[in-house]
Amino acid sequence: MKLFYSNEERTVVQVELDEGETLGNFTGPVVMFVPNDPANREFADIQEKQHDIEDYQAPATPKTESL
């Protein structure tokens, strides 16, 4: 199971479940985007089980094409 924030604001967690792993109503394999809403069953499960969430990885610095 891999969890990391998928935006800079940390409002969404990207979760990757391997075969047979479960989170909330889901059973892996699956990739999903979980909002940080406590009413969301998957996010409540993340909190309850105190899963570690990796930091957001920003995309590379914009690089433009030279004219």
Binding site: T27, V30, F33, N40, A44, E48, P59, A60
Partner: protein, 423 residues
């Protein structure tokens, strides 16, 4: 002023003159008749003495008109208008009654209190199939709001199309699909097969009398269905422990659809604590098998280990002590109820990346607001020149589709999104 008699009168024809007197044609000539008077009707609390046949009496007590009638053998007062057989007043209690065929029937309070949408079960007829028709062989959601719990046992659940013979058994040609479960129970201490629906907001039902009705049949085997209710106080903070009890048990199902009805009263939750996450629910559990050594066997009604194949249709849970007619809401309304918890749609994020490292995105709104900000998944995707993408739920009403171009040039990310806010 001269009176103009009819030109071709018939014998005994009567005409009224301008002065109120009458003339009758005797076949040859017009002869004088009696001056009419207003019909006389005796009015009183008791009938008049020495009436003659044809006399009328207005009973001032019962407010009923009687005629003194000779039937050839005797004379008596008879009602001028037929009175239906009296059934008396409805029972004197707080319930509401309707009269039909000379009898009073308790119709419960729900309908007369404007409780439109009295069936709190979603997808009661299994017409909504956003997740497809199965088969589902592991625990989790199946036909939209219906979720199955399988522990140690095996179970295959699917939607099946009903035939005319099935509709005849049900007695309703609206029946199109049935939820079928083929299961093999085992005897372990955690062995269990249960189909359930979690109904949002526990408060709506606590302290109330509830009636559950549904059609079911055995396709094979000789199973009973043990129904349980569970007051689920949700998660977050320090919620009270769930309270679960038996709702009732059906007899052994027959091979034809039969409507079963169970009634129970839920305890009040006054003084209890709901979880802070806002996800409390009333769970209605249909136990198909539950080993005798499983602690849940008691709330299942003691059905024990069972195996077989059953069909389910027309599940209704309503407030009140009587099972009313199955409420069949329009499909689009049924769908909206389900979409509050699960919905799906297409997305397509295409454009031209003029630089790398820049996220391109757009926002789209759900057709129905969801119970909570949903978990998003994507499927059937096509990705061209992208180095990262995401479906970002933005509250309960919209999502943001975001794509990061891998290189300068055109990019595509498209597919199907699914938003899940199930309980």
């Amino acid at each position: 002023m001269a009176f103009d008699f009819p030109n071709a009168p018939t014998t005994n024809q009567i005409v009224t003159m301008p002065d109120g007197t009458v003339r009758k044609w005797d076949g040859v000539k017009w002869v004088a008749g009696q001056t009419p008077t207003a019909p006389y009707c005796y009015t009183g609390d008791a009938p008049p003495s020495n009436p003659t046949p044809g006399a009328s009496w207005w009973d001032s007590v019962s407010c009923q008109l009687f005629v003194y009638y000779n039937d050839g053998n005797s004379s008596q007062w008879v009602p001028a208008v037929a009175i239906p057989a009296s059934v008396g007043e409805a029972p004197s209690n707080s319930n509401y009654y309707a009269r039909r065929n000379g009898q009073w029937s308790d119709i419960g309070t729900s309908q007369l209190q404007g409780n439109v949408g009295r069936n709190v079960i979603h997808n009661s007829m299994f017409n909504v199939q956003q997740r497809g028709g199965g088969p589902w062989t592991i625990g989790g959601y199946t036909a939209d709001r219906w979720t199955q719990y399988i522990s140690v046992d095996t179970c295959s659940t699917a939607i099946y199309t009903l035939a005319d013979t099935d509709r005849a058994q049900i007695g309703d040609e609206a029946a199109q699909y049935t939820l079928g479960m083929t299961f093999t129970g085992t005897t372990g201490s955690t062995s269990q097969t249960t189909m359930l629906q979690r109904i949002e907001n526990l408060r709506s039902f606590s302290g109330k009398t509830l009636t559950l009705s549904f059609w079911a049949r055995n396709v094979s085997g000789s199973a009973k269905i043990g129904v349980a209710w569970s007051q689920n106080f949700g998660t977050g903070g320090s919620p009270s422990a769930n309270i679960t009890n038996n709702f009732g048990v059906t007899p052994t199902l027959t091979n034809s659809f039969v409507r079963y009805t169970l009634t129970t009263t839920l305890p009040s939750i006054s003084g209890k604590t709901l979880g802070s996450n806002g996800n409390s629910s009333l769970d209605i559990q249909f136990h198909l098998s539950c080993a005798t050594s499983n602690p849940n066997n008691a709330v299942s009604g003691g059905i024990g280990t069972q195996s077989g194949s059953i069909n389910l249709w027309g599940v209704q849970l309503e407030i009140g002590s009587v099972a009313t007619q199955l409420e069949k809401i329009p499909f689009e309304d049924d769908l909206k109820h389900c979409q509050r918890f699960y919905q799906t749609g297409y997305f397509s994020n295409t454009g031209y990346a003029s630089a790398t490292g820049i996220i391109h995105g757009y926002v789209q709104t759900y057709p129905v607001w969801m119970r909570a900000a949903p978990t998003m998944t994507s499927s059937g995707t096509t990705a061209v020149n992208v180095s990262g993408n995401g479906l970002f739920p933005s509250g309960v009403h919209s999502l943001e589709v975001a794509t990061n171009g891998a290189a300068i040039g055109g990019y595509i990310w498209k597919g199907v999104w699914t938003a899940i806010a199930d309980l």
